[in-house]
């Protein structure tokens, strides 16, 4: 895995984590972008 790919994957995972928590608070299904 390239460094760039790793960074993108980490960003997607981070976005998905934030989305998971936001969906929990807003009482709705999460809209994940990846991972």
């Amino acid at each position: 895995m390239s460094y760039e790919t790793l960074i993108v994957d980490l960003a997607v995972a981070s976005d998905d984590h934030r989305e998971g928590v936001a969906a929990f608070f807003e009482k709705r299904p999460p809209k994940f972008s990846g991972s």
């Binding site: 980490l10 995972a13 981070s14 998905d16 984590h17 934030r18 998971g20 928590v21 936001a22 929990f24 608070f25 807003e26 009482k27 709705r28 299904p29």
Partner: protein
């Protein structure tokens, strides 16, 4: 055992922020979240919104003078909307669980705001479902309705504390 429930003041917000992280840590195991790369759960802006949202009231729970948890009450329930309150978030630290503290806090909140209430739980949070069914069942003497959440992610109980 002395249980104190009081509305949070601005100087309490740092403690609430930290408690919120512990709350989210518990839920991360239930709802399958990873932690952020910054070592924090959730979006700080969303969390800060709880303390500034005029519909939301945050309460700190102290037991014998020691911080033990929080409860966030929202005026205008997520699903029922205006005219109904909901317990948006509710957290008792593990050390203080299974001692009747959460039940007492819930009863005091229901007493403080007579009227319509909505309480929701995730499907995966079986422990919370058992807790709230028991508390609400006892408080309302069984006069509550349980139904699936509109978002399909859990269940909710609805009741009116004036009709029990």
């Amino acid at each position: 055992m002395k249980i104190e429930l009081r509305a949070a003041r601005p100087e309490d917000f740092p403690a609430l922020r930290r408690l919120m992280q512990l709350y989210l840590y518990d839920f991360a195991a239930i709802d399958d979240w990873s932690i952020g790369a910054d070592g924090l759960y959730g979006n700080a802006q969303v969390i800060e919104g709880f303390w500034t949202d005029p519909r939301m009231t945050s309460y700190l729970v102290h037991v014998d003078g020691v911080l033990a948890g929080f409860a966030l009450v929202r005026d205008g329930a997520y699903f029922a909307g205006d005219g109904t309150r909901d317990i948006s978030e509710f957290f008792i630290l593990r050390r203080h669980r299974r001692q009747g503290i959460g039940a007492e806090v819930a009863r005091r909140m229901f007493d403080a705001f007579p009227g319509k209430w909505e309480v929701t739980q995730l499907t995966r949070n079986v422990e919370a479902q058992t807790f709230w069914r028991r508390i609400i069942g006892e408080y309302t003497r069984g006069r509550y309705v349980e139904q699936p959440r509109p978002d399909g992610r859990g269940i909710m109980q609805r009741f009116d504390t004036r009709r029990r």
